[in-house]
Amino acid sequence: MFERFGKEARGIVTTAVAEAEARGDSRVGTEHLLIAVAGVSFPFQRSLLGPLDVGSEEIRRQLDRLDSESLAAVGVDLELFDPALRALDGAVPRHARRHLPFTHGAKAVLTDTLRETIKQGGRQIGTEHVLLALLSLPAADPLGRVFANMGADPQEIRTDIEEALRRAS
């Protein structure tokens, strides 16, 4: 399915897989794709991203915040855990697994990426198409809360980017 992916878009997928491995997650999800996307460049002004105009490190921080929030919701205080345990991402060499599976949501994003490319009249899947697909995720996706926490309106950012891409073409 990756033959239409351009070099940069392919890089996003590779980085997302590495990110999931490093965080010790059992699946590659939309959050790993977002971390990867935050670290690439786009064929439009980055300021169009608004509150999402941040690097990968800030997205990781937002995901940690989501972890704390979720634990607090069930009455567990993450601060009670040893900081070393909380910050162990990648510190312990994990048993190398052959292939981490993608979550349903992440697969949907990759499929949607092709749809975005066709819609924008592109031939190859670029970084902007992965981003647009991430911004179109249903609100129930974990990223919905990340976007809300960052004060970002995915629909609005999406519209701005689509307009900029239309003007540039």
Partner: protein, 67 residues
């Protein structure tokens, strides 16, 4: 933690947060397991002993952590 209170809270809570909490706790538990299994091995525990302590089979823990 009052279990009844936790159950009541789960009724009205956002499933996305509750489910994410489960995943986060599992990940913390996995890390904790890795660290303590490695430590037990260094102190000469057998896979059998570690498996018994964790309530899983010797094979299961060897396959998960071992070499």
């Amino acid at each position: 933690m009052d279990l009844n209170k936790t159950l009541l809270a789960a009724e009205g809570a956002d499933p996305a947060l509750g489910l994410r909490a489960v995943v986060t706790l599992r990940r913390l538990a996995d890390r904790l397991e890795e660290i303590h299994v490695a430590s037990a091995r260094r102190q000469g525990w057998t896979w059998q002993q570690i498996g018994d302590a964790l309530g899983v089979s010797r094979q299961a823990i060897h396959k998960k952590s071992g070499r």
